[in-house]
């Protein structure tokens, strides 16, 4: 499999074409600037993964175009994976209930962001999503809530069923229902910007597990993170800190709105 998350060495005048799932990214190294242009395929399930550096082909990507000027002393770019910059709201494709006094772990595949930075200085050039999920609103009304990304999921319960792609991370959501009635999972907010990102020995990307507990009286008492399912992938190493460090108040805030059904 082509390695995308590494340092890429450019020479003056080089062009590189990087296909990362639905994302096609062209990078040109000029005497005094870097030129980045990129576009996304209309198919979010596009599975291409390739690196062409140097690339001789004529490229026609003008959907998004940015230039970064400077003395251009560094010729090495580093590609690193990042979790999305907003929370993700997952909605099971089919109606899903957690039975009374039961617990489940849902596995969800989330797109990762491609962080392009100068290898030596670490200067950030751009963060580009491998796939940009649609926006959604998560709240009890159009007045109160927050903007998130929306992901429809098959809500897989077996880790072995998960498709493994190097530009997507696997997030696990453990829902513990201690109440006497079943719990309808219509939409769940996963606070991805507050989670760490890990990489397994086999190059699989994993987030921390989000644990949601529902008490006997039907109230949600806790949202916390753990590394529950990582052992299935052998040893894992942390490769990215949370974008927003989780604090107790932040997690408490997430608790109040982790599950939602809207009524407009």
């Amino acid at each position: 499999m082509e390695r995308i998350w590494k340092e890429h060495h450019f020479k003056d005048g080089d062009k590189g074409l990087f296909s990362v799932g639905p994302l096609s990214l062209k990078i040109e190294s000029h005497a005094h600037d870097w030129v980045l242009s990129w576009k996304h395929s209309s198919n979010p399930l596009e599975e291409s993964l390739s690196v062409e550096l140097p690339c001789q082909c004529e490229l026609d990507i003008d959907d998004n175009y940015e230039r970064f000027g400077g003395q251009h002393r560094e010729r090495v770019l580093k590609f690193s994976p990042l979790l999305p910059d907003l929370p993700v709201v997952i909605r099971p494709e089919k109606t899903f209930y957690v039975l009374p006094k039961e617990e489940v772990i849902l596995f969800v595949s989330v797109p990762m962001w491609l962080k392009v930075s100068l290898a030596n200085s670490g200067t950030l050039l751009k963060e580009i999503p491998s796939y940009r999920p649609p926006d959604t609103w998560f709240g009890v009304s159009p007045n109160e809530g927050e903007i998130c990304y929306a992901i429809r999921t098959k809500a897989r319960l077996e880790l072995s069923d998960m498709p493994l792609r190097p530009y997507r991370a696997i997030a696990a959501i453990k829902v513990v229902n201690k109440a006497k009635d079943k719990l309808f999972l219509e939409r769940i907010k996963v606070p991805l910007p507050n989670l760490k990102l890990f990489e397994s020995e086999s190059g699989i990307y994993l987030t921390e597990t989000v644990v949601i507990e529902r008490e006997k009286d039907g109230t949600f008492v806790d949202v916390k993170t753990a590394r529950g399912f990582h052992k299935d992938f052998g040893s894992t190493k942390k490769i990215a800190e949370p974008r927003i460090p989780p604090t107790s108040s932040l997690m408490r805030k997430a608790l109040g709105s982790v599950l939602s059904s809207m009524d407009f």
Binding site: W137, P142, N143
Partner: protein
């Protein structure tokens, strides 16, 4: 007085002048400090009000102090105030009304600085909310001063109060088109646009049967800052979609039937 100042006969004039200047400089200094210290953490409206309040408080205190040094008798002013109250009351009626309205606006907060509002047919971004008037900048970059009294009486639409907005697009299709199919195509189009919110869900409203067309309204939600991008993008995409699928956007038309029996009589 000027003669005395120039000749240096009376040091209290210099003292009063120095106090006034010092008060002015101190007021500006405090204003600048507040402006920089609260640049990120405070709402711009609160910051603006605090700046103005402290500036005038410090400066006017300095002026009052300076006048006192010059021997100004405040009792005379208070006595005269009784005589002038009626006259001033009539003259300042509008100003006082605006001032009171301004205080109510500040406490009620129907809008804030940087909000996009529409009032009496004028749409603009709020630049400042002062005690007497509110200033708007229109999209044509014109400054509009709206007296606070008018704002208190008028209906105000605040377009940016909430983080998301609904965008309504009026559409017309020909009678021959399959409405269900058109509705599904429109919802699919919205689904493919990442700027359109997944929730609240988009919807298509049938507005009725009109002279030449069946009218629909496509309602989608988006972030307030994406309003124009979504609106313009969707109109372009819908036209392209209708052209691709051969869906007719009808022009106004009238069907005329020629009666055969009438022709025969002639």
């Amino acid at each position: 007085m000027i003669e005395k100042i120039l000749t240096g006969e009376s040091s209290q004039y210099w003292k009063a002048l120095a106090i006034t200047l010092a008060g002015f400089i101190l007021a500006r200094l405090v204003k600048n400090i507040i402006h920089h210290w609260y640049q990120k953490n405070t709402l711009s409206q609160t910051k603006m009000l605090l700046e103005k309040f402290l500036f005038y408080l410090i400066f006017l205190s300095a002026v009052v102090w300076a006048l006192k040094i010059l021997g100004f008798d405040w009792k005379v002013l208070l006595g005269a105030a009784g005589v002038f109250t009626v006259a001033i009351g009539f003259a300042a009626q509008t100003s006082v009304s605006n001032l009171i309205s301004g205080i109510f606006l500040m406490s009620e907060r129907p809008f804030q600085v940087d909000d996009l509002i529409e009032v009496n047919g004028t749409t603009g971004i709020v630049l400042s909310i002062d005690f007497l008037s509110t200033r708007l900048r229109t999209f044509q970059n014109a400054l509009v001063r709206v007296p606070n009294e008018v704002l208190m009486k008028a209906e105000i639409k605040n377009y940016t109060r909430f983080p998301i907005r609904r965008i309504d697009l009026d559409l017309s299709i020909a009678y021959k088109e399959n409405m269900k199919e058109v509705k599904d195509l429109l919802l699919q189009l919205v689904d493919e646009n990442p700027l359109c919110l997944d929730e609240p869900a988009p919807l298509v409203i049938h507005k009725g049967f009109f002279d030449s067309s069946v009218n629909l309204m496509l309602c989608v939600w988006g972030k307030k800052e994406n309003f124009l991008t979504i609106r313009n993008g969707l109109f372009e995409d819908i036209k392209t979609l209708f052209e691709e699928k051969g869906i007719e956007i009808p022009f106004p038309q009238r069907v005329v039937y020629m009666r055969q029996d009438g022709l025969k009589k002639e």
